[in-house]
C-alpha cells in the first residue's frame, strides 16, 4: 500500500502545516539548509555587566524546510552526524530539534538518505510518500493523503552524476587527495592561479561547517555578546593564530585544505567524505573551478603512479 498526495493538494497541505510550523521553501535559495540551524551569524550568549549573568539566546522555532534535492537531504543527515560527534553542538541542536525536513523530489528515488518525510514524484499528478520517522509521520494529515495499492508510476531518472559514484570509494579518494599534495601534483599550482579565495564554495556547501568567534561589547557597555559566524578555509584568517602566525600562508595551501578536510580528514574521522556531490560549489564558483573534475584528474594520476 502506498500513501499518495496529489500535486495540486500539496500547497493546501502546507497551509495547514503552517499553523504549527514556519514553512520555509529552500528550493531556490543559494545558501543551503544548514543556514537555519547554523546561521550565517548568530549571537550565542550575552553577558550582562550589572547582573554578572550569562544568558543563552534561544532563537529556535518550529520550522519546516522544503528541500527539493536528494543530495541536500542526504547532506543534512551527514551534517547532523558531524554536529553530534565528538560533542553535541548545543546551538545547532537547539534549532535542529524543533525542525522537520520535507523533501519534495521530482526524480525517482531508490532510498532517501535524509529528511523526515519525502514526497517523490511518480506521475504528472501525484507524489508518493516516504515516511522516515515519527516526525515525518506526524505531518500526514488524512485529508490530503490517500492509500493506493498500486499507483501509476513513471520512472523519472536522475541526471547521471559520475562524481557521485566516485564518492562511494572514499578510501581511494582520501589516499589520492593526500598523495596529490605530498607528491606536489601540478593541479594545486594550477588551482592557486585560479582561485579567488572568496569562500563562496564553502558558504554554498551543505556540509561545510566552519565558524569563527567574535566577541562584541554593546555601545553602552552594558552587555557583551559572543557571536559566531561562518568562516571558510580558503580565507586568510582561517588558520591564523594568536600572535599572527598563519599555518596556511598561500592560497594554494588554503585551497588544498578544503579538499584535505573534506576527503582526507573527514574520511579518517567519520569514515566518509564530507561531500555529497551536489555541485553547488561548482555552480557558484566565480572562477569556474569544478570539484568533480579536480578529483577525477587526481584519482586518474594516483592510479597511474
Amino acid at each position: 500500500m502506498e500513501l499518495i498526495i496529489e500535486k495540486k493538494k500539496i500547497k493546501e497541505w502546507l497551509v495547514v502545516l503552517g499553523k504549527d510550523f514556519k514553512v520555509v521553501d529552500t528550493r531556490k535559495k543559494v545558501l543551503p539548509p544548514k543556514q537555519y540551524f547554523f546561521p550565517v551569524k548568530e549571537d550565542l550568549f550575552s553577558f550582562d555587566l550589572k547582573s554578572k549573568k550569562l544568558k543563552t539566546i534561544d532563537q529556535s522555532e518550529n520550522i519546516l524546510l522544503l528541500i527539493s534535492s536528494l543530495n541536500k537531504l542526504e547532506a543534512m543527515t551527514q551534517l547532523d552526524e558531524i554536529m553530534e560527534k565528538p560533542q553535541k553542538d548545543f546551538f545547532y541542536w537547539q534549532k535542529r530539534d524543533k525542525s522537520v525536513l520535507v523533501g519534495i523530489v521530482d526524480e525517482s528515488i531508490k532510498v532517501p538518505y535524509g529528511g523526515d518525510l519525502v514526497l517523490e514524484k511518480i506521475n504528472q499528478k501525484e507524489y508518493r510518500t516516504w515516511v522516515l520517522n515519527s516526525k515525518g509521520r506526524n505531518l500526514l494529515k488524512d485529508k490530503f493523503f490517500k492509500k493506493v495499492l498500486k499507483p501509476r508510476t513513471i520512472n523519472y531518472p536522475s541526471k547521471p552524476n559520475i562524481f557521485k559514484e566516485k564518492l562511494l570509494d572514499s578510501e581511494l579518494l582520501a589516499e589520492a587527495v593526500e598523495w596529490s599534495w605530498q607528491s606536489n601534483h601540478k593541479i594545486w599550482n594550477e588551482l592557486a592561479e585560479k582561485c579567488l579565495g572568496c569562500g563562496i564554495c564553502t558558504y554554498v556547501c551543505p556540509l561545510c561547517h566552519c565558524f569563527s568567534m567574535e566577541d562584541q561589547v554593546s555601545l553602552d557597555n552594558s552587555k557583551c555578546f559572543r557571536c559566531r559566524q561562518w568562516d571558510a578555509c580558503t580565507l586568510p584568517r582561517f588558520s591564523q593564530i594568536a600572535g599572527g602566525h598563519n599555518f596556511h600562508k598561500t592560497i594554494k595551501e588554503r585551497y588544498y585544505n578544503w579538499y584535505y578536510h573534506k576527503f582526507v580528514r573527514a574520511y579518517r574521522q567519520y569514515g566518509k567524505a564530507q561531500c555529497v556531490a551536489c555541485g553547488a560549489c561548482k555552480d557558484n564558483c566565480p572562477a569556474g573551478i569544478k570539484i568533480g573534475e579536480v578529483l577525477k584528474e587526481i584519482v586518474k594520476d594516483y592510479k597511474k603512479r
Binding site: E193, G199, L219
Partner: protein, 243 residues
C-alpha cells in the same frame, strides 16, 4: 575616569561619511554618554583645540596647508582613524587622471594660474593611521562596531572575508558568473553588498581584503571585458592601491 575626547575633522570629500555618523541618531546619544565629542564642525558649535584621544578624519588633503594640518592632528592625537574611502584610499578625489590635470587647469583657470592642488592620496601617505573605517560611504554599523571595540580597550579588526560573503547572504546572482565585472571577491566585506543588491557592480570601495587574489580576478575580468573597462573599475577607488 574622564571620558575619552573625540574629534572629527574633514578634508576634501563630500561629507557623506559624516552624514552616516549623524544618521546613527539614538546611538549617537548613547555614545555621547561615554565619550566627549570635543570638536566636530559638522555636528556642533563649541569646538575645542587638541590634544584628543581619538581623532577621526574624513576626506583627504589636497593642498600643502591641509597636509600640514593633518600632521599637526596626528601629533595631537593618541589614536587616528580614517573615515571613508577618501581618507582610506584616496577615494573619489583620487580618480583624477593626474596627467590631464594640467590641461584642465589651463582650460578652467587660464594660463597664468599657479596650481596649489596636490594629488589626492590616502591619509597613510602622510601620517601613521591607526585604523581605517572603509566605505564610500562608510556603513554606520561598522562605525559603531569599531568605536565599541576601541572603547572596550580592544584593537579593532578588519573584516577577513570578501563582499561575496554578504552578497551570497543577500541571495544575489553572481555578476561574474553572468559575465559582468565585479570586484567583490578582492574587496573587504562590511557593506552588506549594497551595490550588487541594488544592481550595480562592486567597485571595491571597502579596499582590498587581506590576501586579495587580484591577479586571479584579473584573469577572469580579462575574459569578460576589455582593458579599458578593467582600468575604469580599478580607478574608481583603487587608483592609489598597489595591485
Amino acid at each position: 575616569m574622564s571620558k575619552p575626547k573625540i574629534a572629527i575633522f574633514e578634508f576634501t570629500d563630500c561629507e557623506g561619511c559624516e552624514v552616516e555618523i549623524v544618521s546613527l541618531r539614538e546611538k549617537l546619544l548613547v555614545l555621547e554618554k561615554r565619550v566627549d565629542i570635543v570638536n566636530w564642525r559638522l555636528g556642533q558649535e563649541n569646538n575645542q583645540p587638541g590634544p584628543y584621544d581619538v581623532t577621526i578624519i574624513e576626506g583627504t588633503p589636497i593642498t600643502q596647508d591641509e597636509v600640514d594640518r593633518l600632521k599637526k592632528l596626528r601629533e595631537e592625537s593618541k589614536v587616528l582613524i580614517g573615515l571613508g574611502a577618501c581618507a582610506c584610499l584616496g577615494g573619489i578625489p583620487a580618480i583624477i587622471d593626474t596627467k590631464k590635470r594640467k590641461e584642465f587647469y589651463k582650460k578652467i583657470y587660464g594660463e597664468k594660474y599657479k596650481p596649489r592642488g596636490i594629488d589626492a592620496m590616502p591619509l597613510a601617505a602622510y601620517v601613521k593611521v591607526d585604523f581605517l573605517i572603509h566605505g564610500c560611504p562608510v556603513n554606520n554599523q561598522e562605525v559603531v562596531r569599531i568605536i565599541s571595540e576601541l572603547l572596550a580597550g580592544r584593537t579593532p579588526q578588519y573584516r577577513g572575508y570578501s563582499v561575496c560573503f554578504e552578497c551570497k547572504q543577500a541571495g544575489n546572482e553572481c555578476r561574474l558568473l553572468n559575465k559582468k565585472p565585479c570586484l567583490g571577491p578582492i574587496t573587504q566585506g562590511g557593506c552588506n553588498a549594497v551595490c550588487i543588491s541594488g544592481g550595480s557592480p562592486c567597485y571595491g570601495c571597502f579596499g582590498n581584503r587581506e590576501g586579495a587574489e587580484v591577479k586571479n580576478l584579473l584573469k577572469i575580468l580579462n575574459k569578460i571585458t576589455d582593458q579599458k573597462e578593467i582600468d575604469r573599475y580599478f580607478s574608481m577607488f583603487l587608483n592609489r592601491t598597489k595591485n
